[in-house]
C-alpha cells in the first residue's frame, strides 16, 4: 500500500514534468534538453526559499517561483536558438550545462535536506485545513491530495490554453512553421513562448519532487528528458486505440505507469544504481514496439 501510494505520488509529480516535455517534443517538435537542468532548478529555487524560511503558510510561493525560474531558463534556451541561431539540440545542452552551476550556486552545495523545514505538503496552513476535513487516520493521504489538486489544475489549464488562439499558434508552429510565417507571425517568438511554458512546468515538477522527497540533490535532474519522453511515448503507444481521452490525460497515465514499472523493478530486487539503464532500455523497447506497429499498419494498408 505504501509503495502504491508512493508510485502514485511520484508518478503524478513526474507527469507534470512529462506535460512540459510533451509541449516541446510533441507539440513544438523541439528536442529540448533544457529540462534536465530546469527540473533541479525548480528544486533548487524551492529549497533555497524553504531553508531561508518563506514564512508560514507561504510555502506555495515556491511553486510560483520555480515555475517562473523554469520559464526564464526556457526563454533563454529559446533566445539562444532563435536569436543566436544555435541548433535546437545544442541550445538546450548549453543551457542545461549552465544550469548545473546555477543550481549549485542557488543552493550552495550539492545536497540539501529539507527535513526540518516546512514544505507545501506539511505546513501550518495545510495541516490545519486537513485537520478539519480529514479524520486523522487518513492523514497519510495529505500529500497525494495536494499533488492531485496541483496536477489537475496544471492539466486543465494546459488543455484550456491549447484551445486559445495562442495555443493554436503554438500547435501550428510545431506542425507547419511555414504557415505561421504565412500568418504574419514570428515563429521564433512562438518557440520561445512554448519553451518557457514547457520548462516552467518541468521546474514546477522539480520543486514538488524536492519537497516530496524532502531533499535537494544536484543530480536529480539527470535523465529528466528521457523519463518524460518515456512517459509520453508509452502513453501514446498504450492508449492510442482509445481516441476519447485527451493527450494530456494519456501522458499522466503514462508517467504513473512508468513510475509503477520503476517501482516493480526495485521491488523484484534490482539495484537503484541500475535505474537510469533500465529507463533507457524501457524507452528503447517502447520506441521499437511503436515502430513495429507502424510497419504492421503499413503492411495492412
Amino acid at each position: 500500500m505504501e509503495i502504491i501510494l508512493g508510485v502514485l505520488c511520484q508518478g503524478m509529480i513526474y507527469s507534470i514534468m512529462a506535460l512540459g516535455v510533451y509541449i516541446t517534443y510533441k507539440i513544438l517538435d523541439f528536442p529540448d534538453m533544457t529540462a534536465d537542468g530546469t527540473f533541479p532548478l525548480g528544486a533548487a529555487v524551492s529549497t533555497m526559499m524553504l531553508t531561508q524560511g518563506v514564512g508560514s503558510g507561504w510555502t506555495f510561493l515556491t511553486l510560483l517561483a520555480s515555475f517562473a525560474a523554469g520559464a526564464m531558463a526556457g526563454m533563454l534556451t529559446g533566445l539562444i536558438h532563435v536569436k543566436c541561431k544555435v541548433r535546437d539540440l545544442l541550445a538546450g545542452i548549453i543551457m542545461m550545462t549552465a544550469l548545473y552551476t546555477v543550481n549549485l550556486r542557488i543552493c550552495g552545495k550539492a545536497n540539501v535536506p529539507l527535513f526540518s523545514t516546512e514544505t507545501i505538503f506539511s505546513n501550518s496552513t495545510v495541516d490545519s485545513i486537513f485537520e478539519r476535513l480529514l479524520p486523522s487516520s487518513l492523514s497519510k493521504y495529505e500529500s497525494i491530495i495536494i499533488i492531485m489538486v496541483i496536477l489537475i489544475l496544471c492539466k486543465l489549464l494546459l488543455d484550456l490554453y491549447m484551445k486559445t488562439k495562442s495555443g493554436y499558434l503554438l500547435r501550428a508552429t510545431g506542425d507547419n512553421a511555414t504557415l505561421v510565417t504565412s500568418l504574419a507571425k514570428d515563429k521564433g517568438l512562438v518557440k520561445i513562448l512554448g519553451l518557457s511554458l514547457a520548462n516552467g512546468l518541468v521546474a514546477l515538477s522539480g520543486s514538488m519532487m524536492a519537497q516530496y522527497q524532502r531533499f535537494f540533490d544536484i543530480t536529480m535532474g539527470t535523465g529528466t528528458v528521457i523519463i518524460g519522453l518515456a512517459s509520453v511515448i508509452m502513453a501514446a503507444n498504450l492508449l492510442k486505440n482509445i481516441p476519447v481521452i485527451k493527450n494530456t490525460t494519456t501522458i499522466i497515465i503514462g508517467a504513473i505507469i512508468y513510475r509503477g514499472v520503476w517501482a516493480a523493478v526495485i521491488v523484484i530486487g534490482m539495484d537503484a544504481k541500475d535505474m537510469k539503464f533500465i529507463t533507457a532500455a524501457l524507452l528503447l523497447i517502447f520506441l521499437i514496439i511503436s515502430m513495429e506497429r507502424k510497419k504492421k499498419v503499413k503492411m495492412h494498408a
Binding site: 486559445t164 488562439k165 500547435r171 507547419n176 504557415l179 505561421v180 504565412s182
Partner: protein, 257 residues
C-alpha cells in the same frame, strides 16, 4: 504597385561556385495585375517570389510597395500583405489540426493570437459557406484532421486560407504542379475566381504554359535571371502557346539542352 529596382542577387558569393542570378533586375507590377511567370528550371522564377516575400535576402536593390521600401522587412512582417500558396500542398495547412482549427487560424491573420478562444463559434457558419464553394464536401468534415485530406483538397484549403483575410498580393508558387490534371484544373478555376472576386494583385509561377496563357492579364518569361518576354493586356490576349513554346525551345538549344 510593386516595384523591384536594380535587384542584385548572387549565390555562394566569394566561392568558386559563385553564381549571379539577378543583375540589375527590374520589374514593375501594377495593382490588380494577374501575372503569369514561366521559364525553365533555374531561370529565377521561384527566387523572384522568394525575394518579394523575403524568404531570401537580396544583395542590393529596392523592393517598393506603393513607394515604400520593404527590402529590410522580415519575412513574417511582409506576409501581413501577402498570401502565398506553395507547390507542396502540405505547406499551406497544419496536418495535425482539424479543418475548423485551420480555418480559425487563417481567419485570425493580422489580429492578435491571444488567450481568447481559438475558434469563434459564430464564424463556423461562415467557414462552412466558404468551404461549400469549393465543392469538395469539406463543409461536413470540419472536425477531421487536414492531414487525412488528399493533396487537391489540401491545396484548395491552402488557397482559401491564404486569401481569407484582406491581402494586397497573392503569390502562387507552382501551386498546381503537384496535383493531377483534373484537380489542377479545378484549383486553377478556383484561383481565377478568388482573384477576380477579391481583386488581388497576383503573381503566379507555373510550368503549365496553357495556364499561363489562359489566365491572367500579363505573361512574363524568364531565362537566367532576365525577362525574355513580357506581354500584357491585348498583346497577351494574342499570344499563343506555340509562340511561348517556340521561344522555350530556342533558349533550350542555346543552352545546349
Amino acid at each position: 504597385m510593386l516595384e523591384l529596382l536594380n535587384i542584385n542577387k548572387y549565390y555562394n558569393p566569394g566561392s568558386v561556385n559563385e553564381m549571379c542570378l539577378f543583375q540589375d533586375f527590374g520589374l514593375v507590377i501594377n495593382d490588380g495585375d494577374f501575372v503569369s511567370v514561366v521559364g525553365s528550371n533555374g531561370s529565377g522564377k521561384t527566387s523572384l517570389l522568394n525575394i518579394i516575400c523575403g524568404s531570401i535576402d537580396i544583395d542590393s536593390g529596392k523592393i517598393l510597395v506603393n513607394q515604400k521600401n520593404i527590402s529590410g522587412e522580415k519575412e513574417y512582417v511582409r506576409h501581413r500583405n501577402i498570401g502565398r500558396v506553395y507547390q507542396n500542398p502540405a505547406l499551406g495547412t497544419c496536418p495535425n489540426m482539424t479543418i475548423l482549427e485551420n480555418m480559425s487560424l487563417a481567419d485570425n491573420k493580422g489580429k492578435a493570437f491571444n488567450l481568447t478562444f481559438g475558434t469563434n463559434k459564430k464564424r463556423i457558419g461562415y467557414y462552412k459557406e466558404l468551404l461549400r464553394k469549393l465543392n469538395l464536401g469539406l463543409e461536413d468534415k470540419l472536425n477531421i484532421k487536414v492531414g487525412s485530406l488528399s493533396g487537391g483538397q489540401r491545396q484548395a484549403m491552402a488557397l482559401l486560407m491564404s486569401t481569407m483575410t484582406p491581402i494586397k498580393f497573392l503569390i502562387l508558387d507552382e501551386h498546381t504542379a503537384a496535383l493531377d490534371p483534373k484537380t489542377a484544373e479545378l484549383i486553377m478555376e478556383l484561383t481565377d475566381k478568388i482573384v477576380k472576386e477579391k481583386e488581388i494583385t497576383t503573381i503566379m509561377v507555373t510550368h503549365n504554359l496553357r495556364y499561363a496563357i489562359e489566365y491572367g492579364n500579363r505573361i512574363i518569361m524568364m531565362h537566367q535571371g532576365e525577362i525574355l518576354l513580357d506581354k500584357a493586356g491585348a498583346a497577351k490576349q494574342e499570344t499563343h502557346v506555340d509562340e511561348v513554346l517556340g521561344l522555350f525551345n530556342k533558349i533550350s538549344i542555346e543552352c545546349g539542352n
